[in-house]
């Protein structure tokens, strides 16, 4: 397993528990230090395509099971998510989403303007309403990745921290110090960096900013996302920001988010941050008075069809891919691990695997 982000960690645990002898090579000295440390940790169901819904809802059920055993530092919080509608047009979108989820037995409730204000008193007055998804939850991703890595190790896995892989072949991986580690199968789970090891895949980094405040317990109660998020998130060219805030177990508030293409520099950018915070303040005016203690950036691994790459690397027999999770890799990590293990072990899967196969036409450069 190359990479101990949430995806590599989940895959390593799943494969180790299925009886394989697993080793993880992670360039950092710890698990979950890549996009996983930068992400928000909203464990979401999404309705933007049937394949995205299948993966996110299956993964959410796996998270619910795992939550029973997660350590406290993984900060799992079943707070639910609220999609916020600013106007009548967005309210119609709430109704559409509601029917979508209702037809698929996902618990959902429509809130009118007054109920929304009661549910989240710090939202600005006069918003049109919202959609409450009670089964959504949040976690602290790097600690969840750390836990999954420990579980892989407890099942006989070897964890090699501080080992950067420079080359992957059918027979194993080469490390930066030129050591060669023999492997029967190799999984590339290096997030947005996967293109360095598999240059043919169509995965692009999409930069995001986040900010975190001091502790204000009760200020925000649910994961909140503006409905405009989807319009913004799916534009594959323009830079965008969206109101997206999350309550942490500590009382801190995570404030997001931004999306930028074509930027490889991880530096936090003032103009992007101020747009992002202005958007947050537009929805929650009192955020302006809160003290922000840290800002950072991370890179999502974006694919042309917004679906991850899970399965055999086209043209290879013993190399697998688990990357391209864009803004949903925390959510979909557990389902990714389960589908990947099914493919490797020749098992049937709970949901069809074909939409995520790396061999699908859009996933690799022509």
């Amino acid at each position: 397993m190359v990479g101990a982000g949430i995806v590599g960690a989940a895959c390593a645990k799943e494969l180790a528990e299925a009886g394989l002898r697993v080793a993880i090579c992670e360039q950092n000295g710890y698990a979950g230090g890549g996009a996983t440390a930068a992400g928000m940790g909203h464990l979401a169901v999404m309705d933007d395509s049937d394949a995205q819904f299948a993966l996110t809802s299956y993964s959410q059920s796996l998270w619910r099971e795992l939550a029973q055993e997660l350590p406290a530092e993984a900060e799992y919080l079943a707070c639910g998510a609220l999609w916020v509608a600013a106007d009548e047009e967005e309210l119609r979108e709430v109704e559409r989403k509601f029917r979508f989820y209702q037809n698929r037995n996902v618990p959902a409730e429509i809130l009118d303007s007054k109920q929304l204000a009661e549910a989240e008193p710090n939202l600005r007055a006069g918003l049109a309403g919202g959609l409450l998804l009670t089964a959504d939850s949040v976690c602290y991703p790097p600690c969840a990745a750390g836990y999954l890595t420990k579980r892989a190790a407890a099942t006989g896995g070897n964890i090699f921290f501080g080992k950067k892989v420079t080359e992957v072949s059918e027979s194993g991986v080469r490390l930066e110090d030129n050591t060669f580690l023999t492997a029967g199968l190799t999984v590339i789970a290096t997030g947005a960096a996967a293109v360095r090891l598999a240059p043919e895949i169509d995965v692009h980094p999409r930069k995001g900013h986040l900010a975190i405040t001091d502790r204000y317990p009760g200020f925000v109660r649910h994961q909140l996302i503006e409905l405009g998020y989807l319009k913004n998130a799916h534009s594959t060219t323009a830079d965008s920001v969206a109101f997206n805030v999350q309550p942490r177990v500590t009382g801190q508030i995570l404030i997001g988010s931004s999306r930028q293409f074509g930027v490889e520099d991880a530096v936090a950018e003032g103009p992007m941050l101020s747009n992002m915070l202005a958007r947050a303040i537009e929805y929650m005016p009192a955020i302006a008075d809160l003290s922000t203690i840290r800002v950072w950036t991370g890179f999502r691994a974006a694919t042309p069809d917004n679906l991850p790459l899970i399965g055999a690397r086209p043209g290879y027999r013993r190399i697998y891919l688990a990357t391209g999770h864009e803004g949903l890799g925390i959510s979909t990590s557990l389902a990714t691990a389960s589908l990947l293990a099914d493919e490797i072990l020749g098992r049937d899967s709970a949901i069809p695997r074909s939409p995520y196969e790396p061999s699908r036409s859009v996933a690799v450069h022509a």
Binding site: D214, R215, Y216, T250, D289, L290, S291, I293
Partner: protein, 81 residues
Amino acid sequence: MPENLTIEVNGCELPAKAGMSVAAALFQAGEFRFRISASGQPRAALCGMGICFECRVTIDGQANCRSCQILVRDGMVIRTS
């Protein structure tokens, strides 16, 4: 002579002087526990220059204000934890 002011700290009225930081007023009032840290330890102002965040208190209802960076005002209501 700086103007005499009255501030309220945890429900008690205390004298202070204009131009003083809230942190200085708290120390003068004998308050050495500004807040309780996440791990349950008592904390008070340390750097006095806005960097360490140890001096956070609630001022006029607003939580997490750095008391070393804010000057007292007459009638200010301060809460330590």
